[in-house]
């Protein structure tokens, strides 16, 4: 009964996978009947392409930057919401809402905050500051994209950590208190190690999401100024549909695949080594 699923995977994953590698060895433009095999040309051009290098670096910044902040803030927020106080359920509900909104629409909504006559500059003007073109400098734009992606998917790590925290038996904390452990020692000695599976899951989900970041970039900067904020995913799109270089775009696709695959396998390998049993 698994044959229909298997068939779809063969047609839409396995075949395209090998077809993609084949196209990456050609100079095909995406629509012509004529193309030539050019060997490793696309890959050697790729290695020396400054735009590709920028996009690869940005992809890592988006991936690891968002993942880092999502873990730190997500865990801190989960620790906060794990305590008894009024309004914590409402807080959880609201923080998770952005997760369900399309990232491209969320990006456009942030544009109203960040545009020149937008909400953020109004606040700056209110305090007598000068309005800023937030998205026209590469460094600022990249940081803002990381921040927006972090904020939108904060709810995912928060929910995973909250569930993880609620699974830690209370008796470990009681035993630690009896041993005279302070709040920090309890966090380091009990919470963190027992949260290890949750951390791993959350890191893997966030990392894959961040490494293939596309929608927010398209909505906020379109990869610009110039090529400065492109990720591999948006650069691939621009190369294929923007400049009709299908062969080269397929080579970028191979690079994107290898990047995400390598880091996923790496996190899995690290996780197998460090399973903790209590």
């Amino acid at each position: 009964m698994y044959l229909p699923a298997l068939g779809l995977f063969l047609v839409f994953v396995v075949y395209p996978f090998f077809e993609g590698i084949r196209i990456a060895f050609t100079n095909w433009n995406g629509f012509s009947q004529h193309f030539k095999y050019v060997g490793l040309t696309n890959f050697s051009v790729l290695a020396g392409d400054r735009n590709v290098r920028t996009a690869l670096l940005n992809t890592l910044l988006y991936g690891f930057g968002s993942t880092f902040f999502q873990q730190v803030l997500g865990l801190a927020y989960a620790l906060l919401l794990n305590q008894e106080f009024k309004g914590r359920t409402v807080g959880r509900t609201i923080t998770y809402l952005p997760v369900l909104i399309s990232a491209v629409i969320m990006g456009y909504m942030w544009y109203f905050v960040l545009q020149y006559d937008g909400a953020l500059n109004d606040v700056i003007a209110l305090f007598g500051g000068k309005k800023v073109l937030w998205l026209s400098r590469a460094g600022t734009a990249i940081s803002l994209i990381v921040a927006i992606n972090t904020l939108q998917y904060l709810g995912v790590s928060m929910i995973i950590y909250l569930a993880g925290l609620q699974n830690i038996p209370q008796m470990y904390y009681e035993a630690a208190v009896l041993d005279g452990a302070g709040a920090w020692r309890r966090f380091r000695g009990v919470t963190l190690p027992l949260l290890y599976p949750a951390i791993l899951t959350s890191v893997t989900i966030n990392l894959i999401g961040g490494l293939k970041l596309f929608d927010v970039i398209r909505a906020l900067t379109g990869g610009g100024p110039g090529y400065a904020t492109h990720s591999l995913a948006t650069l691939l799109n621009a190369t294929y549909f923007g400049s009709q270089r299908a062969g080269y775009a397929a080579a970028i696709g191979v690079l994107l695949f290898v990047t995400i695959f390598a880091f996923t396998v790496l996190t899995q390998a690290v996780s197998r080594r460090r399973e903790i049993q209590y």
């Binding site: 995977f9 196209i23 399309s102 294929y240």
Partner: protein, 270 residues
């Protein structure tokens, strides 16, 4: 105790406020005429609804909503059917072949669909699936199947085998056992699969951008982005379109919150 929880409430309010800040600003922009140059923070003296009417007419939001609904419903239904069918034998009959098939299917979880963009486009052109409902549905189904199969596998493995065996001894066929015994038990995980897949397809932008190029086939994300892409376009109308687009998912989420949260936890479970 009461006095000390004040800062916790304040911090929670602050984080929640930042998280939904863009939604608030967008709502304010959507209910002001374009001639209103006041700050995006300040609500207008009177609510202006023409942007919404304009968004529906100019942005053809009704068509976009219909397309998105058809594609989402079709994809979710197929994902549930195909993944439950695939997971049942793989969970029940432990053979070397089935173990290999399982590993293969789950490893597709690690393949980013976007990296296959160029060849996928070629395949879809070959089978004449560009700008068709079935073409985009098959793509969505393929890339949502691995997670769904993973969820069903975990769930079915936890259902005691005695259930099936008792029915098989009574003379039921394997298909009857699947339909009458297993399927009803799968309700909770099916809800998670529908929510995860439904949200992913409803919100999709990347695949839709490539594979739905003819304007009458536009889905919501494409309709909204075309509003913003036109320079000098009416941004207030664009804001109205964005607000309309997030209404259905927000209502569903508030009404069915625990299922949405359960969906994430199911998919995060190892």
């Amino acid at each position: 105790m009461k006095a000390r929880s004040g800062w916790k409430i304040a911090l929670t309010v602050l984080i929640s406020a930042v998280a939904i800040l863009p939604i608030y600003i967008t709502i304010i922009v959507s209910v002001k005429p374009q001639t209103d140059l006041s700050s995006f923070w300040v609500p207008p003296p009177a609510i202006f609804l023409d942007n919404f009417a304009g968004a529906f007419v100019i942005g053809r939001l009704a068509t976009a909503f219909m397309n998105t609904t058809i594609i989402t419903a079709g994809s979710a239904a197929l994902v549930v059917l195909l993944s439950a069918m695939a997971a049942y034998p793989l969970a029940r009959h432990r053979s070397r072949l089935n173990a290999a098939v399982t590993t293969f299917m789950l490893s597709i979880l690690m393949v980013p669909g976007l990296s296959l963009l160029v060849p996928l486009y070629v395949v879809l052109v070959k089978i004449r699936g560009i700008s068709t409902y079935w073409g985009i549905v098959l793509i969505h189904v393929t890339f949502n199947l691995p997670l769904a199969i993973f969820l069903y596998l975990n769930f079915i493995r936890a259902v005691p085998r005695d259930f099936d065996e008792a029915a098989l001894i009574d003379g039921s066929s394997v298909y009857a056992v699947f339909a009458r015994i297993i399927l009803p038990l799968l309700k909770p995980v099916t809800v998670s699969v529908i929510i995860l897949c439904g949200v992913a397809v409803w919100n999709d932008y990347q695949f839709s951008l490539y594979f739905l190029q003819s304007p009458p086939m536009r889905v919501i994300t494409l309709a909204i982005s075309s509003f913003f892409a036109v320079s000098g376009g009416n941004t207030h109308m664009a804001a109205a379109a964005a607000v309309v687009s997030i209404v259905p998912i927000t209502i569903l989420y508030v009404a069915l919150q625990k299922y949405f949260v359960q969906g994430v936890l199911d998919s995060a479970l190892k």
